[in-house]
Amino acid sequence: MIERSEVMGQPEPTLADQPSATGPAVDPAGLAARPASPVPGQPGPGQNTSDTARAGSASDAAELPVNGYPNGVDTVPHATATAGDLQPYAELGLRDDEYDRIRQILGRRPTQSELAMYSIMWSEHCSYKSSKVHLRQFSEKAPPSDRMLAGIGENAGVIQISDRLAVTFKVESHNHPSFVEPHQGAATGVGGIVRDILAMGARPVAVMDPLRFGAADHPDTARVLPGVVAGIGTYGNSLGLPNIGGEVVFDPCYQGNPLVNALCLGVLPVDRLQNKAAAGPGNIVVLMGAKTGRDGIGGVSVLASATFDEGSEQRRPSVQVGDPFMEKLLIEACLELYDAGLVVGIQDLGGAGLTCALTETAAAAGTGMRVWLERVVLREASMQPHEILASESQERMLLIVAPEKLEAVLKIAEKWGVPASAIGEVTGAAQPAADGQAGAEPGRLLVTWQGHTVVDVPPGSLVDDGPVYARPMREPADLILLQADRAETLPRPSTPEALRETLLRMIGSPNLCDKSWITEQYDRYVLGNTVLAQPEDAGIIRIDEQSGLGVAISVDGNGRYARLDPYNGAKLALAEAYRNVAVTGAKPVAVTDCLNFGSPEDPGVMWQFAEAVRGLADGCAELGIPVTGGNVSFYNQTGAAAIHPTPVVGVLGVLDDVAQRVPMGFARTTGADHDLIFVLGETRMELSGSEWAWVTHEHLGGVPPRVDLAGERTLAELVAEAARVGHLRSAHDLSDGGLAQALVESTLRHGVGARIAVPEGFTAGSMPFVFLFSESAGRAMVAVPRGHEKAFTALCAERGVPWTLIGVTDTNGGELEVRDHFTVGLEELRAAFTSTLPSLFGDNAAPIGSTVTEAVPAAAGGTDAGTTATPVDSAPVDSAPATATTPVDSAPATATATTPVDSAPATTPTPVDSAPVDADATGIPAEAATAPTATPADAGSSGPAPTGTGPDAGSRPAG
């Protein structure tokens, strides 16, 4: 019935008793006698006649050299006998000294399979050989946490959130595959992180995707972005995981190297926590999930651990191909196995495939393993052992199962239509030699193929004994000049007209504009627990329907800041994610990170990396929340040009009751009632690295905004407390684009207008501009219902958080007014805010033919090296920027004509009345007119420490 339930029939292995170089290959569990069809009762024969034919000739092959090897395969005895043979280790990315080390470990040359295994396990991606020495700080500086049940080194960190529940979350990169093949690259990125979460014993419940692309109007972005978005959507939607947030950032530095990071959140009962250790000699090793094919071979070494150059598109075969349906079944099967208590250990297969899973599970337990490789269910019968070991075929898990539970395990796999086969067994550990292990040498991974021993290695040598490099580091030579070139000296708008024009231009710029074109391609509702999702500051998932317990997550990064100052840039990314979680009323408790950098072989990049790690570790210590896991992605560069250092930081917070969450949009009030709008925190003249400097001057220079993590912490505590007692109707973090951006987003969310005045100290010259567009950190904008303002400001004073009353919301006003400066109708704002992506990537509300057909920009095919290949996206029309010829600014008329823009939920179909119906002429309450900058301690002097970054901050000049 189930299309994919059939399991492939491998030919009956006839070889279990053949001697191997290290001793007789015995089969104590009787595996060799087990029917080849791994699922009892499932007929398995006959599907792979070619394989049968080939296997049938195995004995013949003993005499005929095939592939240059006697027996057609490079065996351990053969490797011992041909120690002098040349091997292509350099092509596999291994250095001379690394290769020598392998020979030293093995006491001979590695076999072809072993060489493949070492090359992938010792690749940068798997071994963290360049980053290890720095990443230690995450553990060494970690603040104490009584919530962390699993941390760095596990598949994902696990955080306890109640007596019986825990959550697990992690962010990972899938950058290079997503450039080579955007759709599948991004899709399998989702699949990979989901399996990490699954491997911890958790049900995956949400995903988020921080994405970075080249210039929005670059023709290759029109190839990459639609494919990436469709890939994420296809995979995540098919798994039934709500996509609740993320980022979309455009910058030319990512042109040849987009960043596709994926975060997944999972939930588990505390007692269902799984681990990857292959404990218990005699236990069975089961491979469950999709068939193993030739896809993704060398993904981690060829793709992820090398710099892109000309011809990268030829690496497309190294990209895995995803089958989300199989992953969905795999999830359900695994969860049923966990609940039935049927697995001893479990590990997902991701980068480095079976090699990684076998060696990591064995190394984690200190055990050995005996594997019959021909029992792996293959998609392509002609695969060689080294290909099977290196394949990165998706949707697979490795289970360690007690022998008496094998039948039950296979039965559940069958129920869900997931192929599963027993491929080996756990053998004894090295020290206390277990009884009854007459066979494989204890503590070694022994792999045979058709009776020939192709691998015989100590598993730990691949996992833990990889090379570790303290690579040379040097501050980039251009940094001093870059930092001296401050954006604060750029010409700033000072007239009302110029301010208004700047606002409209900014909110329509690719980084600040509405991202619905992308996020509408993701399912945000499935599972029915999404309390907040993008464009909110953080996504919130209800975990416990009874108590309302839930978690908030935000993921943020700013490559420009990190380029200007990687130490503080990493802290700023942390601060922003922390703040985004905090403004929803949640208490931040844990961190995950995805560190995207250029080549570690470039001392400048390595310095950036070291500084960013140091900043993040210090920042976590200051905020009192630990890094629980994450991922490093190096070699993000094309030729000599590295991307901006881009640490992406995810922060997870806990809400005891999600009903108390604070959304970002101004709320509709009844009658003429207004909420009061406050800005919390200090606004300084901080424009370097800002979105404004980039959009209006294409400028990047100076030093990023000051970081004050103690202040962030105070702000978070204030917001949580104010939310708890009901002082807050809405809250929105201030970051990219400053206050102006926050005002626009909060007004457009539900079509509620606002009237504000710039406070004293910001009224002269270009200072209104500074107030509106500065990107000073540690700030939030909150709306407080009338009647609560006294209690709220008293709370601010008590906590030492500077506050400024700037104005009021105006439900029926239909406009955003900055008094004495300018007024913009919400519809004009909305048109400017929403038209950018549809005009760049196709108005997906338009019927086919009306806009798409006339697009045909020569650009889409392009002369760019990366775009010569036809987009392999399943939706070719996607790649045509529908209105490439239409300048963004002139597009709104057509865009809004066909796009209903009332995406604001739960409001009226006609979101905003264009006619102001307010009795109050000025609209701004008297108290706002004086706009007391009621900083309890004078801004800038005492109060929240202006720098607060400790002695480390001294190494960089502060703003």
Binding site: M1, I2, R4, N237, W416, Q521, N844, A845, D878, P905
Partner: protein, 227 residues
Amino acid sequence: MTARIGVVTFPGSLDDRDAARAVRIAGAEAVPLWHDDADLHGVDAVVLPGGFSYGDYLRCGAIARFAPVMETIAAGARDGLPVLGICNGFQILCEAHLLPGALTRNQHLHFRNRDQWLRVESAGTAWTNAFQAGQEVLVPVKNGEGCYVADERTLDELEATGRVVARYLHGNPNGSLRDIAGITNEAGNVVGLMPHPEHAVEALTGPSLDGLGFFTSILKHLAGAPA
């Protein structure tokens, strides 16, 4: 006695838990049904939930239509068993020929998830009797292949016989002919709906509570139906 509403889980079903939650919130008992089990376990009505049954390989709903449970459901539906197909469930109902027409790829070729206004055109079905005809409701849509198509004669017949259950308002999210969001069979017991009412049953997680009406309708219907 509490009504028992079956919710079918196919391999690849995704909104089955959501449908079950909506059934419970409406006041009925949700009974899980398994694709491979032809027994309906005595349920009073059935919901075919959203998702990607069997990966939506071949064609949306084309494989699910042959599941053992569908044979029983199809037979029951012809005898008056109330069946609501949501999204993928709607696709399955069309593939099973319990409803006319077909759902094809969205005209703009993208998956789209947004909060969508609908007009309930027919309050005469087992699943819409809690609404007023003409009532406007806000319910999420999320689909990649939700573009309803049928030949002109079928469309005319659906219109003439009041079998268009709901229509998209303020913008058609997928290019469906005549803005059709849902239809019913001649008897009014089988309803296919592309939008997701099960995602609009709680203030905290949905854009409205409008979806609940589809689930309270069936309770009303069952209460009035002969045992």
